[in-house]
């Protein structure tokens, strides 16, 4: 067992638990600050210190194991600047990013965002990409972002990094990534009714006929 303080109240919990399970063990039925419980949704950003250590530490509650003397609070919501935009009317350029999120130019290069990222993303580097208009690299570097908000909570330049990142990923996905020609061709074939008769024939088949066809499928190696 270890002792942890949840927002100032001390509890004794098993040492093997994640922060999330420790909260439940201590008697919380979580409403805010709990989502996928698997490290994908960013609902459970947590800030903590351990006794005798001046450093402020962070983690996702569902992915971080409790430590003796840890005192913590969840950060289930963080007010961050987010711009609305019409993705169809944008161009994938430096100017687009800077006009929508001019505050990225205020980045002082302190690297705090990178240090706090629970996904180990090089956040400062992708903001540097924004500053020089390298949208492809920004999209790639930020890909694993779960939008938990910890970077924004620590940024002295008041940037909401993760909102810049999703804008860049959408610009990349829509405009810079090459289009899949086979996909456009197939959509056209479907719209022209190329498969209609075959599908309808398949829908009429008996279970026995379907079983035979299924067993005879050619499996792509």
């Amino acid at each position: 067992m270890v002792k942890i303080s949840i927002m100032g109240q001390w509890h004794e919990v098993p040492a093997s638990l994640t922060i999330q399970k420790a909260l439940e063990y201590a008697g919380y039925q979580l409403v805010r600050g709990c989502g996928c419980r698997g490290g994908f949704c960013g609902a459970c950003a947590t800030v903590y210190r351990t006794e005798g250590d001046y450093r402020l530490k962070v983690g996702l509650a569902c992915q971080t194991i409790v430590e003796d003397g840890m005192y913590l609070t969840l950060l289930p919501f963080y007010p961050a600047q987010r711009a609305d935009y019409d993705i169809d009317k944008l161009e994938p350029t430096y100017e687009t990013i800077i006009s929508i999120y001019p505050e990225v130019l205020r980045c002082v290069g302190c690297n705090t965002c990178t240090k706090v990222c629970p996904q180990d993303i090089d956040v400062m580097e992708y903001i540097a990409c924004a500053k020089r208009g390298d949208i492809a690299k920004l999209a790639d570097l930020s890909f694993d972002c779960v939008m938990c908000g910890l970077c924004a909570s620590k940024c002295p330049a008041e940037i909401a990094q993760y909102n810049v990142a999703i804008l860049a990923r959408r610009l990349y996905g829509k405009y810079l990534a090459p289009k899949a020609k086979h996909l456009a061709d197939r959509v056209k074939e479907i719209e022209e009714g190329k498969f209609d008769r075959e599908i309808e024939a398949m829908m009429q088949k008996s279970e026995d006929e379907l079983k035979k066809l299924y067993a005879a499928r050619e499996i792509e190696p």
Partner: protein, 547 residues
């Protein structure tokens, strides 16, 4: 933390057989062998796991005990206390649920001219869609076709699928991927734009599209961003506790409960779309689950009370490869893509026992047999058993660095606990993953109650009795879009009559007449993982769900 000595000894055997196994291919099981394996070891065939439901449209049907508990529970609210002569919100289309199906439905309903309100229990995007890692199926390659996709789906579903729903699924699939491409979803592509596609369990052609192993997250965050950009109003932490019916038995709104302020709000809507997901968090038969915190079958309860029939509720999907070690993340998903990329399943002795890309129900049963009857599982320090998923094979087959490049989420998950899955195998055991059945719908997501639509995991019939990998991300998009379109059309043509909660009163009377005591309330809203010692100190609740 890495592996304890006892487990490392077995890993040594796995390493010794690896070279031999690189050449070895376990044959696919014959239909008879599959049947025998499923009947012997799949949890669906355990008679103790289910019982007949005593009330409602499915009276007498066998369903998992945990679901029957909720269908036989009383309403959370007192219907007589609600004055339904005025409303807090008045909209064309109400979407319940903020996952992939809900977001897609809201976008398409708005695009088709409806005034939309989305309400969701947690945050917009907090849903299983966000957690889906492996991919999304679409027959968009020249050597593949929607017809072949159709056959894979119905074979995988053991021929119980509703044909019209399967047609919608496979024919809309390429359109969905194209829609995503237009919205800016970053699918994995070759430099010339060709989609990188691989196999999933039960596919005959490589049609699994992915965005690394954050496929669902990438789709969800893009749809969510678009809902925000289009300024579709949404209310978070606001689950629905009952639907409203009008004097012609049409669905015309809902009562929501604000989890922060504990207030109830009344919504009138010309059409209502249920996109609330499945029942993973009911922990059917005590299994751990891969599911999101909010997957508590709320939509099933709401729809059942207004008279919708449920289909194949006894068919539960156990994902073959849940985490079995370390203990902190037991039950979480190890994506099927790991097997798609070449990792084999091997027992304590380092031997394969099943072809790794059989359908999910068959692989799960094979693993359960290995750990029970054959007693060839690997035991963890807490006494849990599992089999190895030999992940280092991925690097041998596809080159070093493949895991970090193609499976960054998986790699990170194990790395957080000191296990490098590029070098050491990972331990797995089946985990509750998906509700194969659900509310009966037609190919436009319409239910038998006019004005009520359902999309995504809450619905049933698309996947028969067993869903294939990559068809649920597809399902939420296909049927979310369809329900959104059709609901907007319906809302243009229909007016709402006088609304009431009379159906809720009638349901309570039915429960009473069946001799069911008022010891539970539903919908559940949130699971409760507090200790019994804590729960004993609480008073005043019915014992299920939040106060």
């Amino acid at each position: 933390m890495s592996y304890p000595e006892s487990m490392l000894a077995s890993i040594k055997k796995v390493e010794e057989t690896r070279k031999k196994r690189l050449e070895e291919r376990i044959p696919l099981l014959s239909p008879e062998e599959k049947d025998k394996l499923l009947h012997g070891f799949h949890p669906d065939y355990n008679p103790k796991g289910k019982r007949p439901v005593r009330v409602g449209p499915n009276q007498g049907d066998q369903m998992p005990n945990e679901l029957v508990d909720l269908l036989e529970a009383y309403p959370r609210i007192d219907p007589d206390r609600f004055d339904l002569s005025s409303f807090d919100y008045d909209v064309d289309v109400l979407v319940i649920g903020g996952g992939g199906a809900g977001a897609a439905a809201a976008l398409l309903a708005q695009e088709n001219g409806a005034n939309v309100l989305l309400v969701t229990k947690l945050r917009l995007g907090d849903a299983n869609t966000m957690m889906a890692q492996g991919g999304i199926q679409a027959a968009d390659k020249p050597h593949d076709s929607p017809v072949i996709h159709y056959l894979d789906v119905v074979g995988g579903g053991h021929y119980y699928n509703v044909p019209e729903l399967v047609r919608a699924l496979v024919m809309d699939a390429p359109k969905v991927i194209r829609w995503h491409e237009e919205l800016g979803v970053m699918y994995d592509k070759e430099p010339d734009g060709t989609m990188i596609t691989i196999h999933g369990g039960g596919t005959s052609k490589k049609r699994m599209h992915a965005a690394r192993d954050y496929t669902g997250a990438e789709i969800m965050r893009t749809l969510r961003d678009e809902v925000r950009n289009r300024k579709i109003p949404y209310l978070e932490f606001s689950p629905v506790v009952e639907l409203l019916l009008d004097d012609q038995k049409r669905c015309g709104g809902a009562i929501i409960y604000n989890l922060d302020t504990k207030e109830y709000f009344k919504i009138r809507a010309k059409a209502v779309i249920i996109a609330t997901g499945g029942f993973g968090r009911l922990h059917i038969q005590g299994f751990p689950t891969t599911n999101h915190y909010g997957a508590t079958a709320d939509g099933l309860v709401l729809a059942y009370r207004v008279g919708c029939k449920l289909l194949y509720m006894d068919a539960v999907q156990y994902h073959p490869t849940g985490v079995a070690y370390p203990e902190q993340i037991v039950g979480l998903l190890i994506t099927e893509k790991v097997r798609g990329l070449g990792a084999q399943l091997v027992n304590r002795e380092g031997n394969q026992f099943i072809y790794p890309l059989e359908t999910r129900d068959v692989v799960a049963s094979g693993i359960i047999r290995e750990c029970t009857e054959r007693n060839l599982g690997v035991e963890t320090p807490t006494g849990m058993k599992g089999v190895w998923l030999d992940s280092p094979m991925i690097e041998i087959i596809n080159g070093p660095g493949t895991i970090q490049r193609m499976l960054p989420a998986m790699y990170r998950q194990f790395h957080n606990f000191g296990i490098d899955m590029a070098k050491l195998p990972i331990l797995t055991y089946p985990t509750l993953h998906y509700q194969n059945g659900g509310i009966v719908i037609n190919e436009w997501g319409e239910t038998t109650v006019p004005g009520l639509f359902v999309a995504g995991e809450a619905s049933g019939g698309v996947h028969g009795r067993n869903r294939l990998m990559g068809n649920s991300l597809l399902d939420v998009n296909v049927f979310g879009r369809r329900a959104g379109m059709r609901a907007a059309e319906y809302a243009k043509k229909n007016k709402v009559g006088k609304l009431s909660l009379d159906h809720v009163k009638r349901y309570s009377e039915e429960l009473k007449a069946a001799g069911i005591e008022r010891k539970r309330v539903a919908p559940m809203l949130l699971p409760d993982y507090r200790r019994p010692e804590v729960l004993r100190k609480l008073e005043g609740t019915y014992g299920l769900g939040i106060e």
